[in-house]
Every structure is written in C-alpha cells, then in structure tokens.
C-alpha cells in the first residue's frame, strides 16, 4: 500500500466516522437531561450507582465490536477491556452492579427504553423518542 492510497483510505474512514456519531441515551425517566464526560466516565465505571436517591443506575454495554462502541470508548479514553477490568474489580470487591450486556444496538435501544435507570449508547441515527439523549459525542478523529 503506498502513501497515497493510505491517505485516501484515512480520509474515507474519517468521513465514515464523521457519520458514526454516537448518542449517549438513557431511560426517559432519568433525572438528568445532559451529561459531561466526567459524569459519563463515573457512571460507566460504576463509581456512581444511582441517578439519584430513588433511581438506580444500570449500565448497558454492547457485547460485540461495533463502530458506535469503538467511538464511545474512545471518547471515554479507555478500552472496552479496561472498562471490563474495572467492572470485574468492582464486582470482586462487591462494590458494583454488573452491567447489562446486549448483542446489538437495536437491543440496546430496546433495553434502555424499557429498563428503569438504564444508560447506554447507540449511533445517533438510530435514536428514537423512546429514549432520552443525554450527550452527543463529537465525531471522533480517527486515531493515527
């Protein structure tokens, strides 16, 4: 592969990822309307177990590799594997609630829409009004 082809491919991928905008979604009843990155990290790494005093937090993760999953973890600045080791440690120490694992974005949407206190992520194009969008992740640059 020569340099030119590489450059063209890189452009193509960045264009693709530009479209792969990820939305952080939650159950309609969650008390927050927006999330920042720190909050999102805290929520996902089970530092916070509740939305508020009355609403438990349930993190939903995608089992399989997908563009949305990659973009999401990239935004968090860690890998899925790293996140899992955090969850694993929390679970070992009896400190956390295990995340719900779903197999597709469609399932994710369904799960978040139907589970009380659920927090997840899908491609923004797949978002419906069944869920609340808390954060639109900026299209991430493809990592060099």
């Amino acid at each position: 592969m020569n340099t030119l082809t590489k450059a063209v491919l890189a452009l193509a991928f960045s264009a693709a990822s530009a479209f792969a905008q990820v939305a952080v979604i939650a159950h309609k009843d969650v008390p927050l309307d927006t999330l920042n990155k720190t909050q999102l990290t805290d929520f996902y790494s089970c530092e916070m177990k509740l939305w508020d005093k009355s609403m438990p937090l349930l993190v939903v993760d995608l089992k399989l590799q997908s563009e949305a999953k990659d973009a999401f973890y990239k935004f968090l600045g860690m890998t899925a594997s790293r996140m899992k080791s955090i969850w694993l440690k929390k679970l070992l120490m009896g400190e956390g609630v295990e995340p719900l694992v779903v197999r597709s974005e469609e399932e994710m949407l369904k799960k978040v829409a139907t589970t009380f206190g659920a927090l997840g992520f899908i491609s923004s194009s797949k978002v419906t009004d069944e869920v609340k969008t808390l954060l639109l992740l900026a299209p991430t640059e493809k990592q060099p």
């Binding site: 890998t79 594997s81 790293r82 080791s85 694993l88 679970l91 070992l92 295990e98």
Partner: protein, 560 residues
C-alpha cells in the same frame, strides 16, 4: 582550467582537500552507522526488552489469576474470599497495567516502524482474548454471587480454561516473536557493526593509498620537471641551444620552463647572428687570403717567368753558340776521315815502293820509328778517335736541340706543340737524376698537337717529375701516361715514392711551401706548376698517401 594549470600550492591544497574529504566522509559514515547502531540498541533496551518483560509478567499474572479465581471460588469464609478477591484484583490490575505498558511500547515502536504486522495481529488477538476472559470472569463472578457454584466451576473449567489457553497461546507466540525480533535486532546491530568496520577499514586504506599516491604525484610533479630542467640546462651549458622543454603546465614550474625556452631561443638567435657574422668575416678573410695568394703567386710567377725567361734566353744563346762549333766538328769529321784514309794510302804506297826497290835499308830508320810508335795501332786508334769525335758531336747536337726545345720560355704566344714531345724533352733534362735509379715507364697515346705554351708546360712537367724523382729513395719507378678523348688531354705522372699525408697535400700548391730542408728547395715549383696549368684553363689534382706514392693528374683543354 585543468589540474595541470593550477599553481603548485593549489595542487597541494586540492590534494589535501581530497584526503580531508575522504577522511571526513569516513568519519561521517562511521558516526551515522554508530547512530544507527545506537538506535538499534536503544530499541532493544528501551522497547523490545520492556515489551518482552511486560509479556512475561502478563503470562505469570494470567497464570496466577487462574489459580486465584479458583481459590476465590473455593474460599470458605468471607474473610478469605476478600483476601482472594483483593489478590485477584491486584492481578487484574497487573495484567491491565502490563497490557497498557505493552500498548504504549507498541505505539512507540509503530512510530519507528519497528513493530511487525504479525505481532500486531497477535496483540489484537491477545486483547480480544483478555476481553473475552474478562467477560467470562464477570459471568463467573455473577454465577458465584448467585451461589451457582456448579455452573461457575464449569465455566471456569470449560469456557474460561479455553479462553485462558487461547490467551496463553497468543502470549507464547508473542514471546517467541519478541525473542526472534530481539535476536534479529542484535543480529542487525552485529551486521551493522561489521559492515561499518569493513567500510571504515576500506576507507582508511583508500585514504592512506590516496595520500601516498598524492604525495608521490606531487613529488613527481615537482621532481620530474626539475630534473628535465636540470638536464636541459646541462645541455645548454654544453652549447646545444636547440633544447626546448615540453612542460606545458601553468604552474610555477611551467612558467620556469617557458622562461627557459625563451632564454634558449634568444640565445640561439643571438648565436646564429654571431655565427653568421663570423661566417661573413671568415668568407671575407678567405677572399682576402685568396687574393693575397693570387698576388703572391702572380709575383712568384712573375719572378719565376722572368728568371726562366732569362734562363731561356741564356740557354738559347748558349745553344746557338755551341751549335756553330759543333757544326764545324760534325761537318769536318767526315772529310778529316777521308783525308786521313788518303794519307794512309800514301803512306802505304811508300811502303810498297820501298819493298819493290829494296830500299828497306835506306828506310830502316822509318821502320824503326814505325815499330816504336806502334804504327798499326795508331792507324786503328785514329779510326776510333774519329768515331768518338763524331759521336760526341752528334750527342752535343742532340743536347743543344733539347736545350732549345726546353728553353722556349720566352714564347709570347701560344703555339701548336706536342705534349708527348714536351714530356720527352723534360725527361731528357732529368736524365742524369734518373739514370740507374728510377725506371721511367711511358704509356703515350698518339694525338695531335695542341695550342699551348710549350715551354711553360715543360717547366710544369719538369717540376712534377723532379719532385717525383726526389720522392723516391733508392730504386723506384715513374709511370707517365697520356691520353686524349678529343676535347681533353690528360697527363698522369705517378711515382712509387714516399707519398704525402693529407696536411701536406693541402698545402703543396702554396708558394714557398716545401718539405725539403732549408736551401734545398724554394717551395715554388708546384705553385708555378699550378699557375701554368691554370694559364691553360686546365686542372691539376693530386692523389697521395704516405708510403703509397703520389699521382698528379693534369687535364688540359685540347685547343687547336
């Protein structure tokens, strides 16, 4: 501008520059290679080694994790469960940390392109293995929490074991790759070191060779032209000014050579001018000498011809005076003889009369006288005496004729004369000198008389023949040969005498040049001869060598 045109200093600088460039390039090359070596070694110590360590750590931690998970599952109370949980947690941290360390190192290595696709693939597999194992671990923990011990152990023994094996296998493969890569890197470093050493030694040798060549070349550049100059200068010193130096370089030596060439050229021109002047002078000198020689010759000839003329007149006078008395003698001898015969007849008649008349007694005294005087002998003697007188008269007449013949020196005008007769007359003059000692061999061709000064020619022949006679010590021969081809008369006079060397031959025609002792010769003979032959528009040449005799060849135009 070629190298040849540079000044010596520039040439030297250029040479040192070349050497300096060579040495510098060798150094730069070494430094570069050393940098590459250092980079390679740095890569090994700062990246590959930590990577390998991280993987090794991972391997051990993963193995420990399995054990801890098992121990966790079988922990009897909550306290020991907590301990196992903490240990497991620590192992997970360690694995995560090692993975992150590895990832960081991998990213760095990717930036330097020292990360293989194969390793990348293995690492990706490892990551996903680890994620998978963690997923399974999560499930395992959930099962334990829900007290499904059976299911948890099954999971641990089946799925998790499988996942762990995959993880382990990939780890081993990674370790192998790292080992190989490290070994390859070391090999590359070794190769780089070797090639650097080789190239460096080669460059060193080349530099040394170039230095030596340059030094030799520079020395040659100076020494060879200087040697040329020296030998050229020597040649010039020996007087050869045609030397030109073929040194064309434009440096100091070239300038020197050009100046030298100019110098020899000007010297040559100056000398040529001098030589020309000298030649002109010499020519003038020679002309002068010739003129003087001619003057001397003329003078000598004048003196000689005056002398000879006087001698001729004298000789002619004497010959004439002697001729008359001789004529008396030769004219009177015959009648005298006749008269005496008559007288003897009378006397004999006297005897007859006395015997017939018996008068012997009366003439007894006469008879006695006859006997006393040997009368018979006297009669015979008178005959002989008369013969002698007649012979003497004849020979005297001959000599006189020859004298007259020779002394025709006063002849003013040319006349027809026989060359052969002239030679004969001259030989007669020398008869006494040659007699009993020198044999004259004549080979005369008959040819008509030619217009000449016979007396002068005779004198010329006389001089040559006299010299020939004197050149012969003791017995010898003189060959005289005449020939005629219608236009030219050639007279060759050749002796068997002692001959002459070149120097003498060169000078024999000079007036007053003589090989004889003082008082013996005037040194005029051959010069007069030469003058005489010239007067006849003829030519005289001499061929001689010491011990080989001498030959004079005279050629005369046969005018009539």
């Amino acid at each position: 501008m070629t190298f040849r045109d540079l000044k010596l200093g520039a040439k030297q600088l250029l040479g040192f520059g070349v050497i300096l460039v060579l040495m510098t390039s060798a150094n730069i090359f070494s430094i570069n290679r050393m940098r590459a070596l250092k980079a390679e070694i740095d890569e090994v110590t700062k990246n590959r080694l930590p990577r390998a360590l991280a993987i090794a750590d991972l391997n051990r931690s993963a193995f420990d994790l399995r054990i801890k998970q098992l121990q966790y599952a079988f922990a009897i109370d909550s306290a020991s469960k907590k301990i196992q949980a903490e240990a497991t947690s620590a192992l997970i941290d360690s694995i995560t940390q090692n993975l992150e360390t590895y990832k960081r190192l991998k990213t760095e290595a990717e930036g330097r392109q020292s990360y293989s696709k194969k390793e990348e693939k293995l690492y990706d597999a490892l990551e996903s293995n680890w994620e998978n194992y963690q997923d399974l671990s999560l499930t395992f923990l959930l099962l334990l929490r829900e007290d499904q011990m059976q299911g948890a152990l099954l999971l641990l023994n089946e799925d998790m074991r499988q996942s762990f094996d995959d993880f382990s296998a990939n780890l081993v493969a990674l370790v192998d790759i790292n080992k190989k890569d490290s070994f390859d890197a070391a090999q590359r470093a070794e190769d780089a070191y070797r090639s650097t050493r080789r190239v460096n030694s080669t460059l060193l040798v080349v530099t040394i060779l170039v230095s030596i060549l340059f030094a030799a070349g520079l020395a040659r550049l100076i020494v060879v032209p200087v040697r040329l100059l020296a030998s050229a200068a020597e040649t010039v010193a020996r007087g050869n000014l045609t030397v030109q130096l073929g040194i064309r370089s434009k440096d100091e030596i070239g300038n020197l050579a050009r100046s030298f060439n100019q110098m020899t050229t000007s010297l040559r021109e100056a000398r040529a001018g001098m030589e020309q002047q000298a030649a002109e002078l010499q020519a003038k000198n020679a002309a002068l000498q010739r003129t003087m020689q001619q003057l001397q010759q003329t003078q000598t000839q004048l003196v000689q011809s005056e002398k000879m003329a006087s001698l001729g007149q004298l000789t002619a006078g004497i010959a004439h005076e002697i001729n008359n008395p001789i004529n008396f003698i030769s004219a009177n001898v015959g009648p005298l003889k006749r008269d005496l015969t008559d007288l003897f007849a009378v006397l004999s008649q006297y005897d007859n009369v006395a015997r017939a008349h018996k008068l012997q007694n009366a003439f007894a005294e006469v008879e006695t006288l006859k006997t006393q005087l040997d009368y018979g002998v006297v009669v015979d003697e008178i005959d002989n005496l008369l013969e002698g007188i007649a012979e003497g008269a004849r020979r005297t007449a001959e000599i006189v004729r020859d004298l007259r013949n020779f002394s025709r020196l006063d002849e003013e005008a040319q006349k027809l004369a026989s060359i052969n007769q002239g030679l004969e007359a001259t030989l007669l003059m020398l008869k006494n000198q040659l007699k009993n000692r020198v044999e004259v061999i004549k080979d005369f061709q008959n040819f008509p008389d030619i217009l000449c000064y016979p007396g002068k020619l005779n004198q010329a022949f006389l001089n040559i023949l006299a010299n020939a006679s004197q050149a012969i010590d003791g017995q010898g021969k003189i060959f005289i040969k005449t020939s005629y081809d219608g236009d030219i008369v050639t007279v060759s006079i050749k002796d068997t005498g002692k001959g002459m060397n070149e120097d003498v031959q060169q000078r024999i025609f000079e007036p007053f040049f003589t090989t004889k002792g003082v008082g013996e010769g005037t040194g005029l003979g051959l010069s007069i001869t030469y003058g005489i032959i010239e007067d006849h528009d003829g030519n005289i040449e001499v061929y001689s060598a010491p011990g080989k005799g001498t030959e004079f060849v005279i050629t005369l135009p046969a005018r009539r």
